[in-house]
């Protein structure tokens, strides 16, 4: 789907004095709720539908609908608003397919709150992990019909996870390259902090070190 919605550009500028949100408050509470709502609902319905009815088809359709709604919401709305990332695919005029992964550069300060970022990533990572555990359980107990639902859930949540991870790591790098970059960055930071601690330890003054 061609995505021509500008990334976070059309939001109204913050009013004077609103720049510092109290820590823990959410800038987009409705969006955050929906980010969590569909995923949790799908999981809950899967686990507890056996108590209410012995049918398979009704819950199947209900869960698949919830999963599709979740996929669409996370891909198109919550990623863009909560963490400033988006990803899509388009076919150019020669018929070549391109995958685009974008991250909002700079100017994120007033638009994104730490709490939302944390909620976003935790929910994004936790659910594929949960679904894979459930898949193992379903296969071990030979509930193969239900395993189909779990496979669908894994595909949908997993692809969102994969898309956003690639956005985060930078679109031109492959995943292994990005891990190497991350490791190099960590090593660099460690070295810098070692050097600065050497310098700040020597003079026995009481000046507090400033943090950026």
């Amino acid at each position: 789907m061609a995505n021509n919605v500008p990334l976070l550009d059309n939001e109204e500028p913050l009013d004077f004095g609103e720049e510092d949100l109290p820590k823990g408050r959410l800038k987009h509470p409705v969006v955050t709720t929906f980010h969590l709502l569909f995923r949790t609902a799908a999981l809950v319905v899967y686990e507890f539908c056996g108590i209410f009815s012995s049918s398979f088809i009704g819950p199947f359709i209900f869960i698949v609908v919830l999963l599709s709604l979740d996929f669409w919401t996370v891909k198109n709305i919550t990623g863009r608003l909560m963490v400033g990332l988006r990803w899509w695919n388009y076919i150019d005029d020669e018929g070549q397919s391109h995958w685009v992964f974008e991250a909002k550069k700079g100017g994120l300060q007033g638009r994104v709150t730490k709490m939302e970022v944390r909620i976003f990533w935790v929910a994004l990572v936790a659910f594929p992990v949960l679904w894979s555990i459930i898949l193992l359980i379903a296969v071990v107990f030979s509930r193969f019909q239900w395993a189909i639902i779990v496979v669908i859930a894994l595909t949908l949540t997993g692809s969102n996870l994969y898309g956003y991870v690639r956005c985060k790591l930078g679109k031109s790098d492959s995943i292994s390259q990005s891990f190497k970059n991350m490791a190099a960055g960590l090593v660099q930071r460690q070295m810098v902090s070692n050097v600065t601690s050497m310098f700040t330890r020597a003079p026995p003054t009481a000046t507090p070190s400033s943090t950026v």
Partner: protein
């Protein structure tokens, strides 16, 4: 919304396969999901008292449609097609629409008390849906194949819709 309108446009283009751009350029998988769910719901087996209701046929349709589309796409790509994976799955899924329509007609025919003529009618309706689906899929996917390989690429598509049509014709309440 934008997505709903896109799905509707694609349905229209499958029924009158003249213009190829709409399905190919902006693919999406909502249409195939809707069609697959609809076919699976209609084709489910009869309810038995002590077993789960119609489960096997329902899940079978899902597996056949998605795995079948994936396998046909892999075949097309391995033969040297220039189309992307999701585009091909999108086309195959949307071209289920004629089969879906023939399923609805068969269901209506099944309301009446069955005899040989009505079975023949159902058979013809299913055949028309099958031929239409295969033709539409070939219109959309044909260009991506070099011409010497076209018939090699048609055969799996033919088989795919044949199996779906078989499921449709074999669904009856007698």
């Amino acid at each position: 919304m934008r997505d709903l309108r896109a799905v509707g446009t694609k349905f229209y283009h499958v029924l009158y396969p003249k213009e190829k751009k709409a399905l190919l350029k902006e693919w999406d998988l909502w249409g195939p999901l809707i069609l697959c769910t609809f076919i699976a719901m209609m084709v489910q087996g009869t309810q038995e008292v002590d077993k789960q209701d119609g489960g096997p046929e329902f899940a079978q349709v899902f597996v056949i449609v998605w795995l079948g589309a994936a396998v046909v796409t892999m075949n097309t790509k391995l033969l040297g097609g220039t189309i992307s994976f999701f585009q091909s799955v999108c086309v195959l899924g949307y071209c289920l629409l004629p089969s879906c329509l023939s399923l609805i007609l068969c269901r209506l025919i099944l309301i009446a008390h069955q005899n040989r003529i009505l079975f023949l009618l159902r058979f013809i309706v299913t055949c028309i849906g099958f031929a239409w689906a295969t033709f539409a899929a070939m219109v959309f996917l044909g260009d991506s194949q070099p011409s010497s390989r076209k018939s090699l690429a048609v055969y799996p598509i033919f088989l795919f819709y044949f199996i779906i049509s078989w499921l449709i014709i074999s669904h009856s309440n007698v």
